[in-house]
Symmetry: D2
Subunit: 452 residues, 4 copies
Amino acid sequence: MSSHPVIEFTSSSSWAMIEDKFSPFAKETLAKLIKFQQEEVWPALRVAHAQLPDGEARWKTVIPIVADLKKRARQLGLWNLFLSKTHYPQHGVDLTNLEYAVMAEILGRGGHFASEIVNCSAPDTGNMEVLARYGSPEQQKKWLLPLLNGEIRSSFAMTERFVASSDATNIRTSIRQEGNEIVINGHKWWISGAGDPRCAVHLVLGKSDPNNSDRYQQQSIVIVPANAPGVKIVRPMKVFGYDDAPEGHCEIIYDNVRVPLSNLILGWGKGFEIIQGRLGPGRIHHCMRSIGAAQSALDLMLSRVTDPARKTFGKYLYEHGTVVADIAKSRAEIESARLLVLSAAIQIDKYKAKGALKEIGIAKFVVPSMALQVVDRAMQSFGAEGVSQDQALAATWAGLRTLRYADGPDAVHIQQIGQRELKRAPEVTRRLEQIRVKEKGLFAKYGVKSHL
Amino acid sequence: MSSHPVIEFTSSSSWAMIEDKFSPFAKETLAKLIKFQQEEVWPALRVAHAQLPDGEARWKTVIPIVADLKKRARQLGLWNLFLSKTHYPQHGVDLTNLEYAVMAEILGRGGHFASEIVNCSAPDTGNMEVLARYGSPEQQKKWLLPLLNGEIRSSFAMTERFVASSDATNIRTSIRQEGNEIVINGHKWWISGAGDPRCAVHLVLGKSDPNNSDRYQQQSIVIVPANAPGVKIVRPMKVFGYDDAPEGHCEIIYDNVRVPLSNLILGWGKGFEIIQGRLGPGRIHHCMRSIGAAQSALDLMLSRVTDPARKTFGKYLYEHGTVVADIAKSRAEIESARLLVLSAAIQIDKYKAKGALKEIGIAKFVVPSMALQVVDRAMQSFGAEGVSQDQALAATWAGLRTLRYADGPDAVHIQQIGQRELKRAPEVTRRLEQIRVKEKGLFAKYGVKSHL
Amino acid sequence: MSSHPVIEFTSSSSWAMIEDKFSPFAKETLAKLIKFQQEEVWPALRVAHAQLPDGEARWKTVIPIVADLKKRARQLGLWNLFLSKTHYPQHGVDLTNLEYAVMAEILGRGGHFASEIVNCSAPDTGNMEVLARYGSPEQQKKWLLPLLNGEIRSSFAMTERFVASSDATNIRTSIRQEGNEIVINGHKWWISGAGDPRCAVHLVLGKSDPNNSDRYQQQSIVIVPANAPGVKIVRPMKVFGYDDAPEGHCEIIYDNVRVPLSNLILGWGKGFEIIQGRLGPGRIHHCMRSIGAAQSALDLMLSRVTDPARKTFGKYLYEHGTVVADIAKSRAEIESARLLVLSAAIQIDKYKAKGALKEIGIAKFVVPSMALQVVDRAMQSFGAEGVSQDQALAATWAGLRTLRYADGPDAVHIQQIGQRELKRAPEVTRRLEQIRVKEKGLFAKYGVKSHL
Amino acid sequence: MSSHPVIEFTSSSSWAMIEDKFSPFAKETLAKLIKFQQEEVWPALRVAHAQLPDGEARWKTVIPIVADLKKRARQLGLWNLFLSKTHYPQHGVDLTNLEYAVMAEILGRGGHFASEIVNCSAPDTGNMEVLARYGSPEQQKKWLLPLLNGEIRSSFAMTERFVASSDATNIRTSIRQEGNEIVINGHKWWISGAGDPRCAVHLVLGKSDPNNSDRYQQQSIVIVPANAPGVKIVRPMKVFGYDDAPEGHCEIIYDNVRVPLSNLILGWGKGFEIIQGRLGPGRIHHCMRSIGAAQSALDLMLSRVTDPARKTFGKYLYEHGTVVADIAKSRAEIESARLLVLSAAIQIDKYKAKGALKEIGIAKFVVPSMALQVVDRAMQSFGAEGVSQDQALAATWAGLRTLRYADGPDAVHIQQIGQRELKRAPEVTRRLEQIRVKEKGLFAKYGVKSHL
């Protein structure tokens, strides 16, 4: 068998399917990434959480061990791996979507910090892509470069309170020009990353032309420095009981915030276009991280159920009830979900995100539910410890749970995939009718009576 | 149709099935309880949470609005409803298990505080039952009376760290006699209620006779005042990030704690007997509260999906995707789970907890999973808000999740029910063989050829 | 515990819940029915199947052992138990819906023949109800009496080929008056019972007034003798390969069939009213029979997995894999489904079928899927034998599968229940708003800051 | 996008993943196969069923249209595609397992006849592999060549009545040498293909050395001509109501059957080795055919739910209930199952069947359940017609159902995969412990307190 270390952490079967699509550089980078995670990042994760103080100080802390590891990652060349050289020749790394997807799975085993350490964490990744693709040279110099260098962090302010903002046309935040300035007023929440002391910039979506007859031309996106007067952080929202400090998911009021006109991205009315471009590949990165989280949970479960200290009534945990079957199902579900996402990555590499909408959509509604189930089984094997702060499982579960509505709830993706399939109906029906016509001929030719 | 207000909050179909088993007193009490919850308790829940400070102060706070409502409940006679007069003639209330089960469902809609307000919250309920049934007059006077009066609170210290303590024979805490004293040494965690400033007493399970050949005679239970020297609260454990202050679930070290010999409950080696007696009906109360939580979540969902402010793409939420089907399934699942638990309550009333083991066991593994699913669907309809601190749903979900391992993990109950069924096999097989013998005779009598 | 033999075949927990609603007559009849099934009917079932010849003769056979048992049942007074004396004082039996429901479960263990033997099998039951409720004295004398006596059998001709006839307004069969006669032209299929040599009469639904502005006044029902000229049985339809001879489910062409005007039931345009009245309680009888089928399959499974002859690799089947858990789940699912249907029966007894639409609807979509699952698990434990003609399981499964669309597909019932729930939304929302108003007051009163 | 016609019938996403592993010959053969199926085979399927008479004649019929299409397939070079040239250089076709897997999916759309027409149907395929790999030149000349030419058909007689023969050591059939002859006595059932008038040969597994201390050396396999004296076909077993004539699944008694010693395959005691070798790739062919069946069912469903003639209450079927979501789920399930099986095929191509046990095992328990679910949803959309003889769906479902126990029941594969995973536990635990050690060092280095 092939001997790349990735097999140990993912699956030999998927690797057999994609190995020949990996460049030597990608294989080498992947091996380096795995070594770094295993030897330096994963042992640091619970230290990082312990370094985070209680109370208000949580929101003013740069976690020392994370900061140290970021420097280390950059030295190792494990940095900005998400940014494809194909699309972003200047700053990108020479990796295909498929190649990065496998790395994203490895990163997903280490939770949020693992991605941050290699400067591949949301929402910075999406924001860097937006600035690299749509930003003016001045905007890039001021905001993109420090983001690429990991010196600052950023937010993307879209979701609004009291509004069904998953339909972007419902957005109420007002963005209007006054002379050389843009004035922003709005009430957002769930703005991830805005709690971080390093967060220097918000990309804010609002309505600049609410009466435009084209509903998808009404929105614009503006760069707002985090320290601009009028930017009021109301409170951190919690996900289950987690505040996800220091980044957080903040409720924010933009109260007559004023920025120079040059802070508009791409142009008036381009907001919808930008958010559409922002999503695509990011979704499968989320999915691959989820698969890493699931695989890691299964590994924890394997270790727990074979732990002699956990025997009850004289038997290992795995000898009780349906544990072996649960493990088999988890393994099968992870394998098939991984293949789905890898196939989406290949599709993106071949036909761009637009040509991979079906694959992305399917992965988007299949993977989080799969991962939740696998992590839940692992939690159950840990009893109370599984839901506590001593194991990553509960926090992982809570994070995965948000993926069932983030970037569009499951239901939206399910409906879209269903509707796509329905578009095949006319062609399928045409083919069935052709068969029926020939069938009729054959009934006649062979002189057989038909009730059809 | 019958017109009791309970129909509005539970189901007319289950009510039709049990109404004639309710006494006039129970009907009246139930109506009073519903009115009190709706008009005074449910409006107070989010106030109570807001009254809880951050940081260390969380663990030193008696929440004012909860304290006020406790007084009010007692005035109304809505107090200690869980304690059956049949079993506890002196302190009990004249309600059957069935009657209290329906009230527990109503209480379950209001989360933990709702039960506390009527002095019906775990672990106090179980501890009061233990003291009432097994306590000496002196123990009852000192600890039971103030508990019945809601003046103090209590803990039950059983689960141990680093130990598979769901098998009680694995318990490591040592309880030994030294002269007129008992000395306790052990390391517990997940001790609910021990964080509360009002918590005055722990019932501690430990091994007093580890070499006894009867593994179920090795354990004893001792009353330990919360402020005894050597009782060290290490930290609160969290459930999906929630600390459940002020009660909490604490890690505790008992370090050479000394109590008088008279603090032993029932006698040496009686620990296992006591915990067995402690469980029975309590489990179906948990189940009924879970059903109340599920029903309440479904109600929230109904309100959300018909909210005009939540329309997207011109349609109500309920007009999208599978929402109507999800609601129908939730309703059906709640109905059938409720009937299961009510049937268990009737069984307990008729044949005591021992005669209802099958019904209790089935309810125990069916209900939490059902409720988790219903609450999860409701959460999904709320998007991000559903997992946040602004709706009770996520905290409810986290609490329900712990019921899948508390008092025995699902797998244990499933195996027990399966094994019970297997005991029917010989009788079933005997009956099938009788049929086969007669069948053979009939084949012969009618002269028909058989391949069997 | 109570000692009625029903406990052995159903469940002590449901019996504890309903026992006091049973009359002495019902208890006695139930006991007699059980004894008759166990000692005479169940041993006869495979003989009956073996007495059915192959080929065309299948459709011309009155199965001798079934005929003998019908006589025996009538002697025992186990006859027409489905027909409630309350609604049909002249011919009915003194049983409530609840009481008959439990008997229907017992009958369901024995498949179709068991119901036929006590003259309680569809479609005769529904047809007898129609004739008893809506028939003229002349119609009753000619058709109802012989049906009640089990001398003839009958069909109900509603479903049409090439038409989505689950929407009754799509019906195409034409029923028109010509002088003193009614002329019927139409193409039906899935007409159960029409293959039986004893089938003497069809109740045919058609359109008599297709242009009536009230779409529910367009249909009429006419009595058609099975041997009327123009009644052409095209072929038997099969269900998963089963032809269900001798009754069958026939494709029939009514080609200019002429009957006297007196064969019209109830009056012109009353077709829809009649089919509505025909359904109600019949649906829960189907459900209870399904539960009997499921319980019986579980019993077979218990016997199989404890059979020493079926050991593999030195272990009983039940010692492998997830068998014990599967059994526990089957048991739990049967218990809760049974309670659902019994609660529907009580609801019908209290508030008529119209007041039990919710309960009937839930049972209708929950029970068949539950039973299919239980039977499928049992089949799996039998391996290949489970799907063969040597065990009843596969035929039972196929019959149950048809219940997921018969009398309205699952989806219709699910939507109706979901829509019913949505009607609760305004009241639920009103109550939630009341709580919010009081909550606001309490925040103010206690001086606590709110983010809500 | 790539334009191979396979995309229309399978999925562009899986094709993107594997296209570069297809040889030009394979691509061309695949295209030819698709055209042949669509234009000649699929229109013939219902004719073939109609050509099968009722009664005893079913078992004496060579279906004319199938015979004609076999000739045609051979002319087209679409013949014996299952036999890999790599393993069987003399008779094989130049296709990898991956390449044939995709063709097997296409064949799976057409049910059993489609495979037979290209001489790729079980049990002949497995028998040809056995004879090609283990047969003597004489055996190959006499039996393999006519099988390869499609002139005769064959059976594999393993399963025994009254015996748990999924554990091959339970086999009771006796095979013993007498002089130059072998004498066979045994009672088998579910012997597929033995009903066919063209079936000329049985490969019979029995015990030749029941006392051998190695339980896997007790069995031998012998070639038995179908017309040998003592071969008694008792009856056809049915799968649900289907007899699967003309091939059938027969109960057979081998009563003192005598064959020459040269009919022994491979040698005494080699039975277990042969059946092990027989299974591997065949299992994934079953799986791919199942995926084809599922995809074809989904296509039928798409056509049905968009059929204007099936509108009810003014709406298309797809506008009701959860149909769109059901379609989306079916699509997602098919996609991920297909990727699983293709990855197993690649694994076999790279590492032989032995190196692909995990992938084959997962596919074996995932795919049939997936396909059953997809076909069941399609059936439901057809109402009663869906379970009838007029659509292939019910027969397809019944066939798929047998795959959940054929070649080992689901439970066996699930346990094996679970146990395989458990073997990873020591290595996983070792890695976790390494992390814990480093973590401890980091807690110390950074001076952070740990509760772990």
